[in-house]
Symmetry: C2
Subunit: 209 residues, 2 copies
Amino acid sequence: MATRRDTAAVREHLPIEQRRAQLLTAAAEVMREQGVAAATTRAIAERAGVPHGSVHYCFGTKTALVRALLQSEADRSVESARRRSSRSADLEGVLRNVLEAQLESVRTDPGHHAMLGELIALARRDPALADLPGWEHERYVGAAAERIAEWSAASGVALARPTREIATTIMVLATGLGDLWSATGDRAVLDRTLDDCVRGLAARLSEPA
Amino acid sequence: MATRRDTAAVREHLPIEQRRAQLLTAAAEVMREQGVAAATTRAIAERAGVPHGSVHYCFGTKTALVRALLQSEADRSVESARRRSSRSADLEGVLRNVLEAQLESVRTDPGHHAMLGELIALARRDPALADLPGWEHERYVGAAAERIAEWSAASGVALARPTREIATTIMVLATGLGDLWSATGDRAVLDRTLDDCVRGLAARLSEPA
DNA sequence: GTCTATAACTCGATAGAC
DNA sequence: GTCTATCGAGTTATAGAC
């Protein structure tokens, strides 16, 4: 009679938190490469190298896993944007830097960008996740507003508009330009459009309301 | 022994083209109300009031149905935008009108807007539909460029930039502002951000490059 | 040409073995 | 606490009755 030791690799006993993190990483990988729809609990477990049952043992339901994933990926995304941001002398430079950082991440990892969009769309349709789209948006705008305020304080340049208004406008441009890149993949068109957006808005946002 | 007449309503013999249109309408309704993921072939057939087998009889595969649907919905969307467009005296007015028309349709029918986004995301992941996102984007930009050229000819105002450049910028703003509305639902924020975008860009696009 | 019945498969979730 | 085996409901697609 075969024992478990003969038929399968021996698995370690991990603390549940580490097992959760392991599964979240695997879920993000599958979704990034094959799309959110392909990320079944089975596919996630297989990618993580753990048995299917572990998913429900760790998260209870798939919905709970998606919630945890969307939150952790939003954190990761905000943190990544913060690392990419660089110094600038004027508002136009700040706008351009933030937008280029955002677009660089879309260009470097289009699967990850698509994944976040698909997750938000999924959350919008699921009543149990309906609070997440607004939460994520606020997180991005809030982080952008913080960076702008820091820049203003550090550079001594006074802002003609509230930081949140500027941050919101940046978000709008970033998502629009990200979609443009996804749809065309045309670098020249993207750069030209970004230029139009940045220059016009920098002038507009520098005037008092 | 029961005959078919006893157990089910008698169905008419429709030409296959009409049956296809009937199914496309049903598919759009289900996707708009419950999301693309909920639009199974069974749900679509039930909504249309036809037997499940008809879907595969008319379209062969679900992928073929999605392809036909995305194309017809893109047509419908372009046509709807054309009907909403109104006359303006200057470029700023044109920008504002086009954007407000787009946002009005997002506000009036958010489910339809979400559906189009979900369909594009789905197409991007499916090799058999991978040509559609670019095709749809080109369709929108092309239609917007046509309207701008018509306006320029009718009003006698010369454009400082190529119509496609202006049209592309409008698309970027429209998608970005649409996402902003979806995420916040805040009318005041939307109007303020739209104002910033329109004024800045109108000035920028009026200067020679 | 249209529809029913079912095949063949995958899903999320769980009961119970270990 | 961890994993296997399985359940029941869902899916697309099709073979064959009418």
